[in-house]
Each structure stands twice: as C-alpha cells, then as structure tokens.
C-alpha cells in the first residue's frame, strides 16, 4: 500500500499525524510528509484511518500493483 499526499491541498490540520504518527508527519511549514515510501503491512490500517480523516481530502490510498 502506498499513500499519495497532495501537498498543494494540504492545509496542515494534522489530523492524519494525530491518527497515525508512525505514517504521517508535518514539516516546519505544517505540510504533511510521509514517513514511508511504501506503508509497512502492520501500519496499513492506521495509514488508511489517517487518510480518511483529512478534512481537505489531500490523502489517497493506493494498493500497489492494483489498477488505479
């Protein structure tokens, strides 16, 4: 699984990082950064939960290998 973050949309509300700090972080400008290129399997649920609480829908979940 991969998370695709649209940094232009991100407004730094930090809900993703509150939900799954192992997956998401905010940089000094309060813009989301991903801690993993590919989400480790044991963090997939948390990563998805973090993606779904973004108030501006800046995070997408992609299954690697699946058709887009």
């Amino acid at each position: 699984m991969r998370i695709v973050a649209d940094q232009d949309r991100c407004e730094g509300h930090g809900l993703c990082a509150d939900t799954a700090p192992e997956v998401y972080d905010l940089d000094d400008d309060a813009i989301v950064v991903l801690r993993h290129e590919v989400v480790p399997p044991e963090l997939e649920r948390k990563a998805e939960a973090g993606a779904r609480v973004c108030p501006v829908a800046a995070l997408r979940v992609e299954q690697i290998g699946a058709e887009p």
Partner: protein
C-alpha cells in the same frame, strides 16, 4: 455480551471515523453503514471554498473509500429506532444491530417560509446549485456571519460579486473573539464586503426564490442571490418516540453513550457536561474525536477512555488562514506570542502567555499539535 454486528447510521466524517476506529480496534464482526446520501462519504469543508469557486469538483473531495468488507448502503435512510428489539428501520426493511453508532449530523437551518426556496450550503447538491446561482448573479446577500457565512462571502468576493453580509452581531466575534473577529472583518471590508449588523431578526423577502431581507427597522437589503448561513439543525426526527434523549440534539454522556449499546457522535450530538450544561461543537475535529470515543465505549464500556475534545477548529477566508485551539470567543486583548496582526501573521494567546486557554494562529504556519501544546498545561495534558 460481545458486539458482533455494528450498524452505523450516517454517511459523513463521524460515520467514516467510527468505521475506521472499529477496524483499528481489530473489531472483526460485521459493519453496516446506512447513509441517505447518493454519494460515498466526502468532506464538506471545501464546499464553501474550492468547490464553490469551481477550482475543485465533488470527485476531488470524496474521502478515501471504505474497506471492501464494510457494507455501505447508500440512499438508505434510517426512519425509526427500536431500542428494545435493537432494530433500525429503513424503507428497504429492518436492520438488526448489537451495537449502534448514530452519526446523522445536521442540515442547514432555514429562516424562510415553506413556500420560499431558500439557498443554503450543506451538501454537495446545495453547493452545485449555489455555484450555478453565483455564476448568474452580480450581487450576493449572505444572511449570517459565522464561519460558513463569511467563507461564502469570501468566495463570492473572489468571484467578483458585490457582497453584503448581515448578522445580529459583528460577524465572527462569538467564535474568534473581538480582537481576531475585528481583524478578519477589517480585511473583509477592505476586500469590498459590506457588513450590516442589525438589532433584531431579519425577514426573508421574495418567493419562491428569496430576493432580500427586511430588517426590524423596515430597511430592505436586496440582491440577485440571497444565501442563508444561519447554523444547522441536528437530524434527529427519525428518533422520535425511541426513548433517546433529545435536547437540541442527541444528549450524550462523557463516553458518547446514548442508551445500552447505542452511542452517537458528531454534529447530531449535544454533550452533557454533568452539571446540567449542554454544549454543542459542530466542527470536523469534534466529529472525529467523538466517533473514536463512541466506538471505544461501544466495545469496552466503562473502561474506555472518555471523550476528550481536542478543541481545534479553523476557517479560511479573505486570504486569512485562522487556526484556533481552546475555548471559543476569547475575551479581551491577546498576548502576542509571535508576529503581529497588522503585519499579517500572528500567534496570539488568551488570557496570557503563561496559562493560555485559547491560542489562535492567523496566517502563521504552526502545526495544530504545537498550538495545542501551548494551551494551559492542565487542560492539554490531562491524563488519558
């Protein structure tokens, strides 16, 4: 009894977060989501901003889809609840639960008469219609100067419309306090928005499509497009007669519980503070926080951690990005922690810098987690 069958009623952020929380808690029973919407969960937040301007579409604001094993039933409204038999009724038949999460949110409050087709903004359908109306209008009157009303005013101004906002009190003061409220209003006024504060209610004129309002002193304000942004009403009608305690919303306890094996979260709730006081917090972060606490209570009962609001909300308008933690409507002059409002970027604290109960960042790139850490330590770091 262990919960095997959870039904979530609602199709927005509180419902979605409840589902996510069930999965994070390794719940492996069945999850059914009943939503009366015709599209999967999306975020309303950009509906007053990018989607209304037209730079984003509804496809851009749909939230990451639910996992395949969740049974999401769209266009399915809950019409009644029977707590004794643990059944939610829908037009397509009864749905049984052993755990129920109510997340039916709210709808736009209306001011007008039934024969008036009032323009409001709550759903993606409202947004599409308002965008079309905006395209055809040269002047816009926004009734209500809360976050939503002022955001609509900002978008309409960006689109070059002539904009008036009318409210009973100076817009935003009740939320942001007079210092920041005044600053946002002055930026809005410089951007060309006319703000009218009236002493007493307004009457919506024109039918079927409203064309203006009349103030108590008889003054009339007219515009091509009149939008009402006067708050929201919780969707609780389907719970009439169910025994669920309703008082301007579903009354929930400190764990978001409503009745045995029934919890509620989000805009549909009012929170009982124990001292008889009821508070309502119709904001995104609250819907998320409550949904998590509600699911924990459903699965773990009294041993679950209670709901603890993170008290974070924000607004974006007139080029200002305002993020706020702590109590609403801070009183008096703030202590400036960084920058200054006059220079456009500021970090402000009330009542003082040593034990702030409210912190507001205006065009100041501070992550909310950092803002929360600035709050009075006792409030922020209470044990979990």
């Amino acid at each position: 009894m262990s919960v095997r069958d959870v039904v979530v009623v609602g199709g927005s952020i509180a419902a979605l977060t409840a589902v996510e929380m069930l999965r994070m808690e390794d719940f492996d029973g069945r999850i059914t989501v009943l939503s009366d919407e015709d599209v999967p969960p999306y975020t309303r937040v950009p509906l007053s901003k990018g989607v209304l301007t037209g730079t984003e579409s509804i496809d851009d604001v749909v939230l990451a889809p639910l996992a395949d094993d969740v049974d999401l039933r769209l266009q399915t409204s809950a019409t009644a609840l029977d707590i004794d038999t643990r059944t939610v009724h829908t037009p397509s038949g009864p749905v049984r639960y052993d755990g129920l999460v109510i997340a039916t949110g709210g709808r736009a409050r209306r001011l007008g008469r039934p024969d008036q087709v009032e323009r409001v903004l709550r759903s993606h359908g409202d947004c599409a219609r308002l965008r079309d109306d905006l395209a055809a209008a040269s002047s816009v009157l926004v009734v209500g100067g809360g976050f939503l009303g002022m955001e609509i005013a900002s978008t309409a101004r960006t689109l070059g419309r002539e904009v008036t906002v009318v409210d009973l009190a100076p817009p935003l003061d009740r939320l942001l306090g007079a210092a920041v409220g005044g600053h946002v209003r002055s930026v809005a006024t410089q951007a060309g928005v006319r703000i009218v504060v009236t002493d007493g209610g307004v009457r919506l004129l024109g039918a079927p499509v409203p064309t203006g309002v009349e103030l108590v002193d008889g003054t009339r304000l007219e515009a091509d497009l009149v939008v009402s942004a006067v708050g929201d009403v919780p969707n609780v009608e389907w719970l009439a007669g169910s025994g669920v305690q309703l008082h301007g919303g579903i009354v929930v306890d400190s764990h978001c519980r409503v009745a045995p094996d029934v919890v509620a979260a989000g805009d549909v709730t009012v929170i009982s503070e124990g001292d008889g006081q009821l508070t309502r917090s119709p904001h995104w972060t609250n819907a998320v926080d409550q949904a998590r606490a509600a699911v924990r209570a459903l699965l773990h009962g009294d041993s679950a951690a209670p709901y603890r609001p993170s008290q974070y909300c924000w607004t974006e308008q007139f080029g200002l990005d305002v993020k706020m933690v702590g109590d609403l409507d801070p009183q008096g002059e703030p202590t400036v922690l960084d920058g200054s409002l006059d220079e456009g970027s500021a970090l402000l604290a009330w009542p003082d810098a040593t034990a702030p109960r409210t912190v507001i960042a205006v065009n100041h790139r501070t992550p909310p987690a950092k803002l929360k850490r600035l709050l009075k330590p006792a409030a922020a770091a209470a044990p979990a």
